[in-house]
Symmetry: C2
Subunit: 343 residues, 2 copies
């Protein structure tokens, strides 16, 4: 409300210059018609029906400077990450990305920052054929809010509520690096590690879209690891009304994370967030299908546990160490707590 008239470019110039769709006309993909009937520039975007038999999957994530990223974060990577975390939710549902809109509050108009940010954003959007269809640009503390839209067959959607007793629990790639990097940047630890190499795991997560698509009809449930592996797995267990045993020292992690103390490794792999890998359950009979998918995608998929019957008044997870001994309840509880912005 207090801006002066002297700024060289304004809100509408920013939208025109940086937030026009990266492609002239989006690809039709598996749609019989272009999914986006009308994009940026009107009061609303218009989207055609999803392909016959499919439904739209819709998700939103908001990233706030100083909370989800450091204020001096690399703008290109930030542009990548703010869409990646939304695409990760589509992946966790088994949905194919179609479109997104972006609302952004900017403290000021910094052309160089906007160029890099929008480059990062448009690059990952193009990779996943995801069209920018609208949004809002305003002044305010740096905040990025995206709503992403994908398509999925409702019977194949990877809901959190589908895990059954006896199912395997799987994890893609490795977890814990993002938390390791965060702790280093915050000064929580200072171990000599290849930090520059590791940084990309926090700053440039890869949404596991192809994995999500491949798991349609194979997995019984899925979630993306954004707030910590055990906390997020807990959402599956609660929604499915089951429990789990987890072999916590078998959880796959990167070589640097294998070098640190057992305590730090467990903290990072079990409780660390921001990894955006998929944790999913699948019937044991689908093991070879999951393994084939892993080879096909060149993406490690590791069995980390098993779905068990829920017993009233009992913790919903048994955390087993490398000797198959359950962790003491108090310690286990600490690891099982999801990241909470207000706690």
């Amino acid at each position: 409300m207090t801006f002066e008239d002297s700024d060289p470019i304004g809100e509408f110039d920013v939208i025109r210059r940086f937030f026009s769709p990266s492609k002239g006309s989006p690809s039709q993909g598996h749609f019989s018609q272009n999914p986006v009937l009308l994009g940026i520039g009107d009061d609303c975007a218009l989207m055609n029906s999803p392909p016959p038999g499919e439904v739209y999957a819709i998700t939103s994530d908001m990233l706030v400077a100083g909370r989800h990223f450091f204020k001096d974060a690399n703008p290109t990577l930030l542009g990548h990450k703010c869409l990646a975390v939304n695409l990760s939710d589509l992946a966790a549902m088994g949905a194919k990305p179609i479109a997104y809109n972006l609302s952004i509050a900017l403290p000021d108009i910094d052309i160089a920052w906007l160029e890099q940010f929008s480059n990062g954003l448009h690059t990952i959007a193009d990779v996943h054929d995801c069209t920018l269809i609208g949004g809002d640009t305003t002044a305010g503390p740096l905040t990025i809010s995206i709503t992403a839209i994908g398509t999925v067959h409702p019977q194949q959607a990877l809901r959190r509520s589908g895990a059954l007793v006896g199912d395997d629990i799987w994890l893609s790639n490795t977890v814990g690096d993002a938390r390791l990097v965060l702790g280093f940047r915050r000064g929580e630890w200072n171990t000599p590690l290849p930090w520059q190499e590791l940084a990309i795991r926090m700053d440039g997560p890869t949404p596991r879209i192809d994995l999500g698509l491949g798991l349609r009809g194979v997995a019984s449930s899925a979630i993306d690891v954004s707030d910590g592996l055990l906390g997020d797995l807990g959402h599956i267990l609660d929604a499915s009304k089951v429990s789990a045993k987890i072999w916590i020292d078998d959880i796959p992690c990167s070589p640097p994370l294998r070098e640190v103390s057992l305590e730090l490794r467990r903290l990072c792999t079990l409780k660390g967030g921001d990894d955006y890998e998929l944790c999913f359950t699948a019937p044991q009979k689908n093991r070879s299908l999951v393994q084939s998918l892993s080879e096909h995608l060149h993406l490690p998929l590791t069995r980390i546990g098993e779905v068990t019957k829920r017993i009233p008044e009992q913790p919903n997870m048994a955390l087993l160490d490398k000797d198959n001994v359950p962790l003491p309840v108090d310690l286990a509880k600490q690891y099982m707590r999801s990241f909470d912005h207000f706690k």
Copy 2:
């Protein structure tokens, strides 16, 4: 990232307690099946196809404390307004609201504030049968980002690009009160006026959903007045490649605004934002249809101008005073400038 574990309630409690859908199961409305297949609580919401022949209309608006509203704004009205401004965009497209998601950054967890805010939000959502399907809750400077989804027949969508030379230009209700109140609150003017009565025009705007629906097949274009009447009308004129003449002193305004100086009245009615009335164009042959709609809705609809041919290098609006004399170009330009968050 720096929150302590001592807060009494956390992120997930906030979602459960305040941002669960206000209704157990949303009404099917004109859908043959429930439009929302899966609501809050998974990685994505799932939405069925729009009814046959219709498409989804999607819009986003972000409201930032200290920019779009004062930090001490009444939380109930704020909850109302942040959805109302999104519904207003659906109205301007002629779309029927279906669902929305909400991403909110909160500086802290203030139970009383959240109760009032969510009451305001759910109340207007219920009025328009608009279901909360998801979102994100995080810590940060108070920022509210909503994406609203509606349905419309693509041929009847009120696009900005449909205005034709000779069309009438119409405005719903009155404009200018929101700007008048803003100026009073900012200390720009201090005229004795019924401020308490006027405040609701800034704090509790009414999205003109029924008007938008009634204008399907009647209006040739529409926009909602959020950034100033002339600036917003300018978007229609640009998209339609036409010009306009406007009888600026005939623009309907409230009795208090008729009492202030001509200069202040013009500033508020022509350039003031935040009114969320609809400005639309319609062929002259539809005058009686528009007037019937006005009576049916008990909502004044006033002709304020006419669409004219665009002449290269000429301003796209002629602003005529009560004596039909065009305003000097420099003065006219000032009124025609849209509100810009960065200018």
